[in-house]
Chain length 344, copies 2
């Protein structure tokens, strides 16, 4: 399996990317194609690793402060070159660079799965439930139509089932109350579309897949496995979650430091935060898959460490092996596309 | 000062409401008018308290599962009667009952401040910053126009300045990124309106009041004092915040219980959670004011304890004393109403 890894544009530079690839190679068999500045990379690639990776030299990359639309024209950039390699035969791509650029190029070059109106960025949320809920869209689409939300529901459901291996995943629509009457005009319309779609239609017996509206707090107790929202709201939910977790962490740290000796304090912090870190560490979740395009694209956090890149590669391998793209195409076959979609 | 307190519809019954009134009376001089089931209340009203309060018997109330629109017709209900008393001479109202009913009746009976398109529900968010940010709208208006968001910015700014006593409060627009180019179509339009409004226009020297777009995590570090969003997004932010805080609390409790003896564990929990509770306890914040109507209306949490009701009463007194309604009316004078607004 050939996996393209973009070495450029991440906050911590190329080192953690190369380390992540090296760690993943120790556990899984795959052929990494590293795209980016070969000169920079050379310093970090051991002789042993060099024999296992292909490096494509393309030092240009899209900076975080550049417009995503610029990426569509920058043919020499690492993500442009990488996406071409993916299109022409590789199996998956991992990038911790400019996420807008990666999403734009993926949609343009790989095309959407037939029936999908818009690809969506999908992320796993920390949970005290037995499974983590996945949330989509968390940023790919700012202004959404109801039809997009239906598509996100289908994409999320298939991903939860095929890639995460969730047994009988459930789906909810994020709203301002759990009653069916709640929602804004967008989610009210989406509610109807989802409820009528053959995959989600309430069954004659057994429990339905679509659980209707869910609220913000439902995300963290796994009330449903897939939480559907537009990309504007999803981004705000994601940032709010990070903000609350970080604020609480700070309050705890201050309190513990004030009340306990340095030694006991350090021990408490390690114990109390260990579990929290395990539950909320984005590194363990890998990255956010872009769902709805014709190949596996994993978008990693800009601050990704080696472990995050390693996990993103495992996720890419699992996505490819699961055959989820084919399953998604089948799930969308009940849908008459209302607008032209790219096929491939 | 005459303050109407709705005794009905709260999750914990009439007792904490009456206790809250009693506690507030010990610290502040005001005339409470208690509306609700006099028979139920009688059991909890001491002889001493009875001499200081007026009780208006109206046992009917709007249940949490009833529609807010029903409240507009239920003339015998405690909130209907209470809102009439407020309209006809009282100074403020506090209710922990059906919030939709309270909002609907307040708008209908008290009328909007001239120039206000929609009243907004406003809440203080926990913060690690030196001040807490206030967030509005958190649920009064589900589908918003850009003009409403401008109004929320004005209302929030005046409340922060006059009632909270914030020196030079700043305002931000909640979006999916902090760059000016970010936002959905609604917030992009609102951005322009706010930036052009005389109150917020960038000054020739000094720092501007309107800081542009802010992200979800900015709320908890007080990047700005007033965070503006539509009521659908605001409700989701509020519930997400509660959900994350509760999930982290659970993870900590489990970890501490697993690693320490019951006695040490209890001590740790008390210490570590004490500070957190102080920072996040909604009881200390009182309630959510409904901004934009012609009198002070404080909507308390359905689960309010006596302390929450006591604080809500202080907030009502402060709101009235600050003369904020008059200041808001002045702040809206730069605005040409685009639709008829109630005056009073």
């Amino acid at each position: 399996m050939k996996i393209v890894v973009d070495m450029m544009g991440a906050d911590l530079g190329v080192l953690p990317i190369i380390e992540g690839v090296s760690k993943a190679l120790a556990n899984k068999a795959f052929e990494p194609v590293l795209v980016g500045d070969a000169k920079q990379a050379k310093a970090f690639i051991s002789k042993d690793l060099a024999s296992k990776v292909e490096v494509i030299d393309c030092p240009d990359f899209i900076r975080m402060d550049e417009q995503a639309t610029d990426a569509l024209k920058r043919k020499e950039s690492s993500i442009f070159v990488g996406m071409d390699i993916l299109k022409n035969g590789a199996d998956a791509l991992v990038s911790a660079g400019h996420s807008g650029a990666t999403m734009g190029l993926a949609t343009l070059k790989l095309g959407r799965i037939r029936g999908v109106s818009r690809p969506a960025l999908c992320t796993l949320m920390p949970s005290v439930g037995k499974r983590a809920s996945l949330c989509l869209d968390v940023g790919a689409n700012t202004d959404c139509k109801a039809e997009y939300l239906l598509d996100f529901a289908i994409l999320g459901y298939e991903y939860a089932k095929s890639v995460l291996g969730y047994d009988s995943p459930t789906v909810g629509l994020l709203a301002n109350g759990e009653e069916d009457s709640k929602g804004d005009s967008l989610t009210k319309e989406a509610f109807k579309l989802i409820n009528q779609y053959p995959l989600f239609a309430p069954p004659k017996e057994g429990t339905p897949i679509f659980k209707g509206n869910v609220e913000g707090n439902d995300i963290f107790v796994n009330s449903v496995d897939v939480v559907v929202c537009d990309g504007f709201v999803g981004n705000i939910v994601l940032k709010t979650t990070e903000g609350v977790a970080s604020a609480i962490g700070n309050i705890f740290k201050t309190t513990i430091k004030e009340h306990f000796s340095a030694k006991i304090g350090a021990f408490l912090l390690k114990e109390a935060f260990g579990m929290l870190k395990q539950k909320t560490d984005y590194a363990e979740y890998g990255g956010a898959p872009l769902l709805g395009v014709n190949k596996a694209v994993i978008i990693s956090h800009g601050k990704s460490n080696a472990r995050a890149i390693e996990c993103a590669i495992y996720q890419a391998i699992k996505t490819k092996e699961s055959g989820v793209a084919e399953k998604m195409a089948r799930a969308f076959s009940h849908k008459t596309p209302t607008e032209p979609t790219a096929s491939n």
